[in-house]
Amino acid sequence: MDISPILEGFGVVLEPANLLYCFVGVIIGMLIGVLPGLGPGATIAILLPITYGIGPVSAIIMLAGIFYGAQYGGTITSVLLRLPGEASSVVTVFDGFALAKQGKAGTALGIAAIGSFIGGTVSILGLTLVAPVVAGFAVDFGPPEYAALGILGVLLISSIGNGNKLKAIIAACVGLLIATVGRDTFTGAERFTFGSLNLAEGIDFIPIAMGLFGLSEILYNLEERHNQVHSPAKVGNVWPSRKDLGQAKGAIGRGSLIGFVLGVLPGGGAVLSSLAAYALEKRRAKQPERFGRGAVEGVAAPETANNAAATSSFIPLLTLGIPANATMALIFGALLIQGIQPGPQLVTEHPDVFWGVVNSMYIGNILLLIMSIPMVGVFVRILRVRPAIMAPITVLITLLGAYTVRNQVYDIFLVIVFGVLGYLMKKFGFEPGPLVLAFVLGSMIESSARQSLLIFGGDPAGFLTRPISGTIFALVLLVALWPLIGRFVRRKTPARVEEKISS
């Protein structure tokens, strides 16, 4: 491997102007990540005109910084306010918010920052060394593979909940149902749109998550405060202890790998990676019941994975010209504005852009880690703000964020509708997590399963005969039957011991 372009890439990044753009990018990213709803997509869209005036390398370095910076910032609201800004941080909420309630918000944020840094860095190393190889893997994933992955994802959802299994399944079914709203992409048929053009496009993730998690929490707290005197949340230690770090170590390592691999897949890779990383940790844990009640690994695993996935989602864009998610589509657009066509030839035609951007991520991640450490102390103080002040501000930011996604007032009403639904769910003991995750995976499973069947000419056997989808389905079977196998193994071992004793 010829490493001189890589080194030249470092030369490009270390130019003062580019360092500054990298810095500005990650700061903006982190700040907008903290604002619920206002994601990197909306921000980059607003900043797009500015990139006309600056060189391509600087522009993309800045925009990329906004993207991965937002991943760091997004954790903060998930932990402190129970507001996941993106589908990939929904899982972080479970243990993150639980830790915050126990006065260990600092631990959660610290672990997340370290995990994000390691996940991000591992992923950039992967991007540097094996990008073209992994890119080939991304196109081997056709509709049947996505369908299989989606089904595996749904199965994992059922295993991550801690509460009532039946209620989790009901919530997941509602999520699947909501995913069907909109005009069918295959036939153009209207499904549950009631003639509304707004519903024709389906319902976006942001209003659902903002409503079900954020607004519902605020509504619920309002009611609670009526009934009892609310003591301000304790803010204990601001930094994870050595014990916490030791506990999270394995989760961070495994999360990095899962995130890097799944993040390469266009569409849904990041969500699946955080889900899979969390589920894996829960499976491996000696006391799985700790999960959902403030397990450090429950924050470390998904946060590491989604950051690693965010970084590796650059691979399809930079090597194939395929934007893996909505934000990548914007960066794609920004490159076009600069007169650079992302595609297989990018690395040879514009090595400065390719390596400049890749290498800027090493620096950006270090900057983010350095910034995160003092910021944890600052953000944790948000919890000390009286709810009477915090609640209206959160509502305002949430609604504003939902508006910016499509510039439609209609989306604000959607947030309110889902806020009320989330409030009712909480009152009756339903968790919003399964609903939101099933919603995300539902549309993926439906469209990819139908695409697969069209490709197979209607013969479902194709799902099993293709190597990758067949393997995933085998895994699905294994996960589904695991409780049975587990019971079988457990029953067998003590029996044998008894035998030995008796003989």
Partner: protein
């Protein structure tokens, strides 16, 4: 590197610009922008461009390039607001009910008026009568391509294969779907459409050889064609396209299929003549700038800077041709 000296100032401008953009976005819902009262002093405020698609796509980039030029010519801000939804119908419905004063305008796609009506109820179809066309903008042609592993090099090869061809499309009611469907109808090839949710998944599927062929916009395919990762089979314009000069048109290959996407600048119906004239002049000046010409080339767009009447005639002709061809082959786009 020359950028380093001016960079801090540019960043400052950037931050100011961002703040302004956020402020403008926030004002979008409230009618404060259209303050221009007298006809003579147009424009006296910001001209808002809405886009019926997400940021980053070709509709968005074209709008931004044009908006930037018009902003320079007329000396006002031209914020671009993305309002994706229902193939652009959502943004179109909003524009047609806006005040026809020239402060809310949009670049719109021909397919919304020529192809989408073939797939939705008549009540939902957007009608060109609700708008004033100011000028044509550019053509964005389609190319049908295949994975090199398939071994196909022409439409005739597909026919010879003697199997059901599975083709990827970018969704129901798109030009990509129509062009493929008409070609297979004309060539009498058995085929199944596999709709994907947009250009990126469609391209991914073709690169992974998951489908036999796909039709997409040239800008989406050209880099992979140049790199030899995709093989072009046909273009659907009347004549060959300068960006892919070796690729034969469908007509050349003996199939009477001509489908192109083109875009034009529109304002709500009843916009005053002098306002339209101002916009047309600014657009023409923008079209003539080297930056804009370069933008067209880099994005594989062919200029179609024609008079409104010509746009209307094209739309009318396309709509009738597509309808009669679909009827002739007995194809339904909503399969």
């Amino acid at each position: 590197m020359p950028t380093s000296r001016t960079a801090p100032r540019r960043i400052l401008q950037g931050v100011v610009g961002a703040a302004a953009a956020i402020a403008l976005t926030a004002c979008g819902g409230v009618k404060t922008t259209s303050s221009g009262g007298g006809d003579g002093d147009y424009p006296s405020g910001n001209i808002e461009f809405s886009v019926g698609a997400s940021a980053g796509g070709s509709s968005d980039l074209i709008t931004r390039a044009l908006a930037q030029g018009i902003s320079k010519e007329l000396g006002v801000s031209t914020p671009v607001l993305n309002k994706p939804g229902a193939n652009g119908a959502l943004a179109a419905k909003e524009l047609q009910s806006a005040k026809p004063d020239g402060y809310k305008i949009a670049v719109q796609n021909a397919s919304l008026f020529t192809i989408t009506p073939l797939t939705v109820s008549p009540a939902e179809a957007t009608k060109i009568d609700s708008f004033d066309v100011i000028t044509g903008v550019s053509r964005d042609d389609y190319v049908m391509a295949t994975n090199p592993k398939s071994g196909f090099t022409s439409i005739e090869d597909l026919k010879k294969a003697g199997k059901t061809i599975r083709y990827g499309t970018t969704g129901v009611g798109t030009g990509a779907q129509l062009a493929s469907a008409l070609t297979f109808g004309a060539a009498d090839i058995k085929s199944t459409a596999v709709p994907f949710d947009g250009g990126a998944p469609n391209l991914t599927a073709l690169l992974g050889n998951q489908v036999d062929v796909s039709t997409m916009q040239i800008g989406e395919a050209i880099e992979n064609i140049k790199a030899g990762k995709l093989v072009p089979l046909a273009v659907f314009s009347k004549e060959r396209i300068p960006y892919l000069p070796e690729v034969k048109t469908a007509i050349e290959q003996g199939f009477d299929v001509q489908v192109t996407q083109y875009r034009f600048l529109t304002a709500p119906k009843g916009t005053p003549e002098n306002v339209k004239a101002k916009l047309l002049e600014a657009a023409k000046k923008t079209f003539a700038t080297p930056e804009y010409k370069k933008f067209n080339e880099e994005n594989s767009l062919t200029p179609m800077e024609v008079a409104p009447q010509e746009v209307l005639t094209s739309l009318q002709n396309d709509a009738t041709t597509f309808k009669s061809q679909l009827d002739k082959f007995g194809i339904s786009l909503t399969g």
